[in-house]
């Protein structure tokens, strides 16, 4: 099977990952994450001072700003802001920094599909770089159901998105996993437990949805592995003077 994206041969193949942490000089944490030609940069400032009206007495206030590739932020960007904020709120241990604010700015650098998933991955890398305490990390992947072949394609490009019958973005954490709960024989239910966020548009059946979740779950393991390697490389570089 050949995909519209000629660099890939399989429907369940992700585009090559790229990431870079600590790129911005004046932010407390920053990162860039790429899925092939899709690229998102994220900066984190905090725990910092917060406006009095946004101050929460028992936890940190999370503010997410999503900036589009060109032009002014629109409704779509506001929806993404909300998606990212609501996914991160239970993940960030905000009780450790009461009466402070954590500002997250997400800027699309290059758009070739799967931007929301790319943005999630960039955000978690930036939060790790900033040293914000987190319950766990997350990983995100997008997939589509092709309108002609009814096949599930992972990590679609803009071209492939145009042919999509439905689009699904899934976010999973690194704590709950299908294999770690052997008593949970029903795999579909296990995937549901582990999902931090899921966003679907278009027409799809229940079976298609769970199949997408299953496939994305497997793909996210590769993203988690990549994030771990990226952090490891950075730490080794920092520590090489002491441990050489």
């Amino acid at each position: 099977m050949s995909r519209l994206d000629r660099t890939r041969t399989s429907a369940h193949q992700l585009r090559p990952f790229f990431s870079s942490q600590n790129l911005l000089n004046r932010a407390d944490g920053s990162a860039q994450f790429d899925f092939g030609e899709s690229s998102v940069m994220c900066s984190v400032i905090g725990p910092a001072e917060v406006k009095l009206r946004d101050e929460k007495l028992d936890k940190a206030t999370l503010e997410v700003v999503v900036r589009p590739l060109v032009g002014l932020p629109g409704i779509k960007d506001k929806a993404r802001e909300q998606a990212i904020r609501e996914t991160l709120e239970p993940l960030v241990l905000s009780g450790l920094h009461p009466r402070t604010g954590i500002q997250i700015v997400v800027q699309t650098m290059k758009d070739d599909g799967s931007i929301l998933a790319t943005a999630f991955n960039a955000t978690i890398l930036a939060l790790l770089d900033a040293g914000i305490p987190l319950k766990s990390i997350l990983g995100a992947v997008t997939c589509i159901v092709d309108s002609e072949t009814n096949q599930i394609l992972l990590d679609p490009t803009t071209q492939e998105l145009a042919n999509a019958k439905s689009t699904h973005t899934f976010v999973f954490d690194n704590k709950s996993s299908i294999t770690s709960s052997p008593e949970n024989k029903d795999q579909e239910e296990a995937v549901e437990v582990a999902t931090l966020y899921s966003d679907s548009t278009g027409l799809f059946s229940e079976e298609e949805y769970f199949e997408c979740a299953q496939i994305c779950y497997k793909a996210v393991q590769a993203v988690h592995g990549f994030i771990r390697t990226a952090v490891q490389k950075k730490l080794e570089k920092e520590q090489q003077q002491i441990h050489s």
Partner: protein, 243 residues
């Protein structure tokens, strides 16, 4: 889920948020059995497991069975007992307000100086640079500072820093600069005489005979963060030669 094994001490043991520490490994070589001290980067979770909350290197000290995660960040979060460098941003009858790079300015009592009394107290102005100690840090309150050793009441080097230059670096690099064996400082010391104060809040004050030397030292410290020993030596050498 990545489970952690603690067999190799020499290898860097890197943890990410969500990695659980195995209960068996935590208690291994502790003589004071069943006592465990958790440092920064580790937290007990709702399900009674001990989980990393920051990305970093898992460290262990057998004395007191202490475990912590050595991580790097740029934003300071005040912790009691740490020496920091701050800038006076405000002044009232009883307190100076000091910017220490944390989420809120810290408070420094006007009497928290060596030998200060109500009649005779040091006078600092807005913009002055102070080297102080965090005497109280609490997540719900502003941090409190002092410019003396609380046990002896002596200044112990704390106080105003005059002249010189301040740079901001990452907290991890600041901690590494405090290591007496730190390579870049040792190399710089072979070429240039200088004095410095390192605040664990990532602020470093450097003073030397000329501005040229001060700038060189600041640049060398900044450059050293991601270099290995050989590269660090070459970097200092090239900077000194160019001068």
């Amino acid at each position: 889920m990545a489970s952690i094994t603690t067999e190799e001490e020499s290898k860097l043991l890197i943890v990410l948020p969500g990695d659980q520490l195995p209960e068996s490994g935590l208690m291994e070589d502790s003589s004071a059995a069943h006592r465990l001290t958790l440092g920064p980067g580790l937290a007990p979770m709702d399900d009674d497991s001990i989980t990393a909350v920051k990305a970093g290197i898992l460290k262990h000290n057998a004395v007191g069975n202490r475990w912590w995660v050595e991580s790097n960040q740029r934003r300071y979060v005040a912790a009691q007992g740490e020496s920091i460098i701050g800038v006076v941003t405000g002044k009232s009858a009883e307190h100076y307000k000091v910017d220490i790079g944390a989420s809120q300015p810290a408070l420094l009592g006007v009497l928290a100086f060596e030998g200060a009394t109500k009649r005779n107290k040091p006078n600092h102005n807005i913009g002055d640079l102070l080297y102080c100690r965090v005497s109280m840090a609490n997540k719900d309150m502003e941090a409190e500072l002092e410019c003396m050793n609380p046990t002896t009441g002596k200044a112990d080097g704390y106080g105003e820093l005059k002249g010189g230059f301040v740079i901001k670096i990452s907290l991890g690099l600041a901690r590494r600069l405090l290591d007496p064996k730190n390579l870049v400082l040792r190399l710089l010391g072979q070429h240039i005489p200088f004095e410095m104060a390192v605040g664990t809040n990532g602020k470093v004050w450097v003073n030397s005979a000329s501005a040229q030397h001060t700038i060189l030292i600041c640049n060398a410290i900044r450059n050293s963060e991601y270099l290995n020993s050989a590269e660090c030596g070459a970097m200092v050498k090239s900077l000194v030669e160019k001068m």
